[in-house]
């Protein structure tokens, strides 16, 4: 009896691992196909339309500006408060700019942007593709001779690869500005002096560190959204289930990838 139970548990673990590997493989194929259509689409008389990429870029990037502004500004102020509190123990409040600037550019800028875009656009992509699948719109594309990866996956992927790093830079700026305003009020430092400290503290490799992560996050958000959207079964309930799954998976993947990236590049 106990043996049968153990085998049952092992079987479930095995199936989950196999399903995970299958999704990873599917993601790799999707990425390869999307890049292939981007590069070769014109030669095959099925180009990835610029208008579709611009539309996606507007959804992913421009429409996210208000929420990214609020969140990155809030985090900037929060980091400044915590930084001053911690450093006051050693009487080193004046060094707060170094910690805040590096934390925002290397970590919080890309992370908060990734999480926000995953919540907004990754879930919307999963829901849209899921709805299209159950209403046979994806089948309709296929039978019209329109490759669904070229039509539905390549535009958001290209848009995310451009807009998420751009949003990350914007989040860095807003976070640093908000932190600077707080620090200037709290410590009586001028905003100009704070600006010079930031420029001294943040080097090009720090910026590239944050941007590199944001590119990886862009890939993860789109691929996780597409995989979950395409996997929808069971009508409206299935769409809801896979949309939730998409957000959870994308945010988890972002945080884990962030840790691995930091581990590999920082130690």
């Amino acid at each position: 009896m106990a043996q049968a139970k153990a085998i049952g548990v092992l079987e479930r673990i095995g199936r989950a691992v196999a399903a995970g590997m299958s999704e990873l493989g599917f993601g790799a194929v999707l990425l390869g196909q999307a890049l292939m259509w981007t590069l070769m689409g014109r030669a095959r008389r099925q180009p990835v339309r610029l208008s579709a990429v611009v539309k996606e870029a507007t959804d992913i990037g421009i429409r996210a500006i208000p929420i990214v502004t609020i969140m990155s500004g809030t985090i900037g102020i929060m980091l400044a408060i915590q930084g001053i509190y911690s450093l006051r123990i050693f009487g080193a409040e004046s060094k707060v700019t170094l910690g805040v600037a590096l934390s925002i550019v290397r970590e919080f800028g890309p992370l908060i942007t990734g999480i926000l875009v995953a919540g907004r656009s990754g879930s919307a992509l999963a829901a849209r593709l899921g709805t299209m699948k159950i209403s046979q719109e994806i089948d309709a594309l296929t039978v019209m001779g329109i490759n669904p990866v070229r039509f539905l996956v390549a535009p958001p992927l290209l848009a995310a690869l451009v807009m998420i790093p751009a949003l990350t830079l914007y989040a860095d700026f807003i976070g640093l500005l908000a932190a600077g305003l707080y620090i200037s009020v709290e410590l009586g430092q001028t905003l100009a002096a704070y600006g010079f400290d930031v420029v001294d503290a943040v080097q090009v490799p720090d910026l590239l560190h944050g941007l590199g992560k944001s590119v990886l996050f862009a890939l993860l958000i789109v691929l996780v959204g597409v995989i979950n959207g395409i996997s929808v079964t069971g009508g409206a309930e299935g769409v809801g289930r896979m949309t939730t799954r998409s957000v959870v998976h994308a945010i988890s993947a972002i945080i884990i990838t962030d840790m691995v990236f930091v581990f590999v590049t920082t130690r």
Binding site: Q46, M132, S135, Q136, E137, T142, V143, M144, G145
Partner: protein, 287 residues
Amino acid sequence: MAEPAATRRPPTAAELEGIPLDEREAVIEVENLVTHYGDRKILKDVSLAVRQGEILVIMGGSGSGKSTLLNHLLGLLKPTSGTIRMLGKDITRISEREYTEIRKKLGVAFQGGALFSSMNLLDNIMLPLYEHTDLDRTTMEIMARMKMEVVSLSGFDRLMPAELSGGMIKRAALARAIVMDPRILFCDEPSAGLDPVVAAAIDDLILSLRAATGMSVVVVTHELESAFKIADRICVLDKGAVLTIASVPEVKANPDPRIQNLLNRRTEEEVLDPEEYLRRLTGESQS
């Protein structure tokens, strides 16, 4: 050497007139098609042919395999074995790129319309032209509006799919299916869920399209009245096997009880093996 069917100019309706069905060239030939979902055999050695200018109706009860067969014809599923020759090419063996070229000569009207919810009606109908031709937008709009006129949807360019009635969705799906002037039109349950008047109008539309263009039409339906009205021949499927492919009078006269049950809307009495019955009760036998 004869030119491949896929590239040859299709005969017009006038050229086909007077030529018996059996003497016309086949645009679709299915031979010994077998397919499985897991361990279950869904299609069992299905063979059929669709001729130029013919309307073939595929009929059968729920679970008879007609939707699976249609999905195979559309290249959405790969069979376990067998061949499907579409406009002279075996679509089970050609590359996706070759099949894309054939797909440009097919039109498909899905059961639920499958209109893109983010596009208005005109953009939906224009999409195949936009993707497959180099025409300028004005020309594409004119061509799309001509098809909208054919299906009596003139003036509804800017409506979104969510604003359309069931009958309008079916007609819009037909307009999109014919916008590239296909050689073969596939219609999945074209009159299902519509009131009798609108359903009859859809049937008339399919007949008039065939008469005007000479295209071949494959219709999957379980609506008897519609099938009898439009079909040149009917293919009756039961449990994944073809029971008959014949003209409407021949199908009506067929003594096979399974066909008569379908035509007379009678449920088939199931002869159940006691052991199988026991397995079902205990949940050991799951379909």
